[in-house]
């Protein structure tokens, strides 16, 4: 076995060569959830990311881009193993792609320890926004609580009095509840916690029916949310109860799967495919042309992540070894986002607007999200004060 | 070419690496009752298990109704017309008496007077009373009757009984003997294994004695009746 390992290592070494001259290309380690119930999210981020590189002619900041893609299977320890390989074997310059916060937290420390920049296209754990904020972590999406906060504020403003909250029984789920309740001040009928990965909600729906709430807010990522909405409608609850969700439970991927039952559902987002800026129009049109579907907000974030790297590499003229320069360039954010303007806060999380969307039919008859209005303007997250980074 | 229904020639059978049968030859003619005798562990059960395909014959030939059947699967041999009443009865404990009987009922060889449930119940009246009981709840004697009835319901051309009366109370044993007498009267071909030599001499005509996996003696009832030395030497009685 010793021999086998040596041979393997030598083979690997000869295949890859060594990457001493870092500046002749940009190496990005793209680690995301590409299989299982959460795969839809990772696939959209990947497609958005790749579309941006294509728009840049296969380059990032003028240098040839090499993107190594790997699947974390939504398992923290798999993510760690791949991260280790990216850092120590492939020696990537940037990493991106992680969808879920728990994966991010598992993989984060070694990335920062090796002084590699992580550009998050989705995961925005509160730890990295607050006391564990890090100079090597940038988030182009949001802080996890933000979308829940936006829904909470809207539900509160609209005067709903009795809301049932549904989330999986895991830290992300409990954080979502906290985010919602930060701006919703009315009565919470019940906080229902489901098993993570649960797909049958018969028992929960029965419970909700007996509570007779006027609104239900749920945070159930991926396939969980799809099933919840379908079963919610099938149980006849939609007649008396308004459904609310953060944008990720009501985006194009979910709409495609659920269809008509989602009509009339409210959700929050910081981006929508019908935003009218030029960059977004081009992005949405090309994405549809390339992949034959409407982009989701994950795709938009993947697209922005690539543009951020592109701008930073261009800024430092390829001198990727100068970590301070790269960081300053990233903080400067010299590109135009598809969501319009946003800027980085001191914790490298975005300060941006959040919108309310409703699901309806567009002029072509497709069921899709329509932007209703702005809930928050220039909204920052609740944790930035705990971040000691300057 | 032969009037024998069953014709075994040079049968050899082994369990793993230890050989049990060393060239056993045996014939049973249509309509006769034959016996297989010998002390414990001499190969009687192995012989009938080999006939039924439950043990793989390592050598020799088994002909049944003109066909070579060694190497056939047990179910094919069963359908060809051999029915076994095994040692220890082995009725299905989780089936009722009725189910034990009807589950395997068949008349593949167009018997003139096929066995039916009613006929079995008439033959073994005590079974009718237990019709709905699970097989596992029967007494030893009832189980043996059920096992015989189950075999008869397949309307076999050859009925094999391994230890026909073993472990039964004397009265029950007598009833089994009476049944076998009646079956012989109806022309059923039977190969029977048992320890009660005197009763077998009365029931059957031709006898084969096995000694350590080989045929040690064969002859008719009169010969066996006459030579008590054989009883003592080969049968341990």
């Amino acid at each position: 076995m010793r021999l086998a390992k040596l041979v393997l290592a030598l083979a690997a070494a000869s295949c890859l060569g060594s990457s001493v001259n870092a500046a002749d290309k940009v190496k990005v380690g793209f680690l995301s959830t590409l299989s299982g119930p959460g795969a839809g999210l990772g696939v959209d981020i990947r497609d958005g990311f790749n579309l941006a590189i294509k728009h840049q002619g296969g380059k990032l900041g003028g240098l040839p881009a090499e993107v190594i893609i790997a699947d974390d299977q939504q398992k923290p320890e798999v993510a760690q193993q791949i991260t280790e390989k990216f850092l120590k074997k492939d020696k990537v310059d940037f990493m991106t792609g992680i969808v879920f916060s728990n994966i991010m937290l598992a993989a984060g420390q070694p990335i920062f320890d090796s002084k590699t920049f992580f550009i998050s296209a989705n995961a925005g754990p509160s730890q990295y926004a607050g006391d564990q904020c890090n100079p090597y972590f940038f988030n182009v999406a949001w802080q996890n609580d933000n979308l829940h906060e936006a829904v909470g504020k809207y539900v509160n403003d609209k005067g709903f009095k009795n809301v049932v909250l549904v989330a999986p029984n895991y830290p992300g789920g409990k954080d979502a509840m906290v985010g919602f309740k930060r701006f919703y001040k009315g009565k919470v009928g019940e906080e229902v916690y489901t098993k993570l990965g649960q797909l049958d909600y018969a028992a929960e729906l029965t419970q909700i029916r007996s509570l007779k709430p006027d609104a239900v807010f749920f945070f159930l990522p991926g396939g969980m949310g799809i099933n919840f909405v379908k079963q919610f409608v099938a149980a006849g609850l939609s007649a008396d109860t308004q459904l609310f969700a953060p944008g990720f439970s009501a985006d194009e991927d979910v709409i495609k799967a659920v269809g008509a039952p989602m009509l009339g559902m409210f959700n929050s987002s910081h981006w929508a495919h019908d935003m009218q800026n030029a960059e977004n129009k081009r992005f949405v049109a090309d994405f549809q042309k390339e992949f034959g579907r409407l982009p989701s907000l994950y795709a938009s974030q993947g697209y922005d992540a690539a543009l951020l790297i592109d701008a930073a590499v261009r800024d430092v003229k390829g001198r990727l070894d100068d970590k301070d320069a790269v960081r300053k360039a990233l903080e400067a954010k010299r590109f135009k986002s598809v969501r319009g303007e946003f800027k980085f806060n001191t914790n490298h999380y975005p300060v941006q607007d959040y919108y309310l969307r409703v699901i309806g039919r567009d002029d072509q008859g497709r069921i899709t999200n329509k932007t209703m209005g702005t809930v928050f303007s220039n909204h920052a997250d609740a944790y930035v004060a705990q971040c000691k980074m300057k | 070419m032969s009037e024998h229904l069953l014709e075994i020639e040079g049968l050899e059978t082994s369990y793993g690496s230890s050989q049990v049968l060393f060239g056993v030859s045996l014939t049973v003619a249509e309509g006769e009752v034959a016996t297989l005798l010998g002390r414990n562990g001499m190969g009687k059960t192995t012989t009938v298990r080999s006939i039924c395909g439950l043990e793989k014959a390592g050598g020799g030939s088994i002909r049944f109704a003109g066909q070579r059947i060694e190497g056939w699967t047990p179910d094919r041999i069963g359908r060809a017309g051999i029915a076994l009443v095994p040692e220890g009865r082995q009725i299905f404990p989780n089936l009722t008496v009725r189910e034990n009987l009807v589950a395997f009922a068949a008349n593949r060889h167009a018997a003139r007077e096929p066995w039916s449930l009613d006929r079995i119940y008439a033959f073994f009246p005590s079974l009718e009373k237990r019709s709905g009981n699970l097989g596992g709840r029967l007494s030893g004697g009832e189980q043996q009757m059920l096992a015989i009835g189950r075999a008869l319901m397949t309307n076999p051309r050859l009925l094999i009984l391994d230890e026909a009366t073993e472990g039964l109370a004397p009265l029950v044993r007598e009833e089994i003997w009476r049944c076998l007498d009646a079956l012989r009267g109806s022309g059923q071909t039977i190969l029977v294994i048992d320890k009660y030599v005197e009763r077998l001499i009365a029931l059957a005509n031709r006898h084969t004695i096995l000694e350590r996996g080989q045929v040690a003696w064969r002859g008719n009832s009169a010969e066996l009746d006459a030579d008590h030395g054989i009883w003592h030497r080969l049968l341990g009685v």
Binding site: - | G16, S17, S18, N40, G41, M42, G136, R137, L138, S139, G140, E163, E166, G167, L168, A169, P170, E198, R212, G236, V237
Partner: protein
């Protein structure tokens, strides 16, 4: 008649039924220290069931078993062996994939009271020369010395039966339950086994279940007859031979 004698095993009214069918029905039996006690009866009379009940492989549904002053109820199989009650099996039950020597050594080692604990994790067994020595001695006793390093599964039937006895013997029992030790043996092998049992009888009390009447009448000091789960007679070989009920129910015409 045997009240004043030194009872080693006292079986009092033991019953065992399997779903309504009685295998043992109020069976009583006593074995005196030092004797060879034979248990005979037709197949299916409950002999093996009784052995199972005595050795603890099956729980009984009623009655008591007292062995060497100990009530055996609720004693597990291995506790009974520790008390000095060992058995052989009717269907040979040895470790076919172990060597003959290992088979016996394993049995010798079971006597923790003599060797210290079997919960010894570190010391190689090959250094346990006392155990191995005794195993060799036992093999000599059952005439298997030459086979010590063969796999037990490769022995002939008769040799396996001898090994079976050696295993039971290795536990140094007070009472040895031998379940049909001669089953399936040829005359020569049977003869050898009878010799072995005669030899063992000088060291240990034996309860012998056997079909071979010649052997039974040769070996036994006393005989009990089990029919239909009940002991219908107990006594000297002569008394049993002359017992009318025994003749009717079991021996019948077979023993003329």
């Amino acid at each position: 008649m045997s009240e004043k004698l030194d009872l080693l095993l006292d079986v009092r009214g033991v019953s065992k039924h399997f779903g309504g069918v009685y295998a043992l029905n109020n069976a009583s039996l006593s074995v005196v220290r030092g004797e060879v006690h034979a248990l005979i009866g037709p197949n299916g009379a409950g002999k093996t069931t009784l052995i199972h009940v005595l050795s603890g492989a099956l729980p009984c549904n009623g009655g008591r078993v007292v062995f060497d002053g100990n009530d055996l109820e609720r004693r597990s199989m291995h506790e009974r062996v520790t008390l000095g009650l060992a058995r052989s099996y009717q269907i040979t039950n040895i470790f076919t994939r172990l060597t003959v020597l290992d088979n016996v050594a394993m049995a010798v080692q079971s006597r923790v009271r003599d060797w210290g604990s079997s919960f010894s994790f570190w010391k190689p067994f090959s250094l346990d020369s006392a155990i191995i020595g005794e195993a060799h001695a036992l093999l000599a006793q059952v005439s298997l010395s030459g086979m010590a390093n063969r796999l037990a599964g490769q022995l002939s039937h008769g040799e396996q039966r001898s090994l079976e006895v050696a295993l039971a013997l290795a536990t140094k029992p007070k009472l040895l339950l031998l379940d049909e030790p001669m089953a399936g043996m040829g005359p020569e092998e049977s003869e050898r086994m009878v010799g072995l049992i005669e030899h063992l009888a000088q060291q240990v009390t034996i309860l012998l279940v056997e079909h071979d009447m010649d052997a039974v009448f040769r070996l036994a000091d006393r005989i009990s007859v089990l029919v239909g789960g009940t002991v219908i007679a107990s006594g000297s070989p002569e008394a049993i031979r002359g017992d009318a009920e025994v003749r009717r129910a079991y021996l019948g015409d077979e023993v003329a």
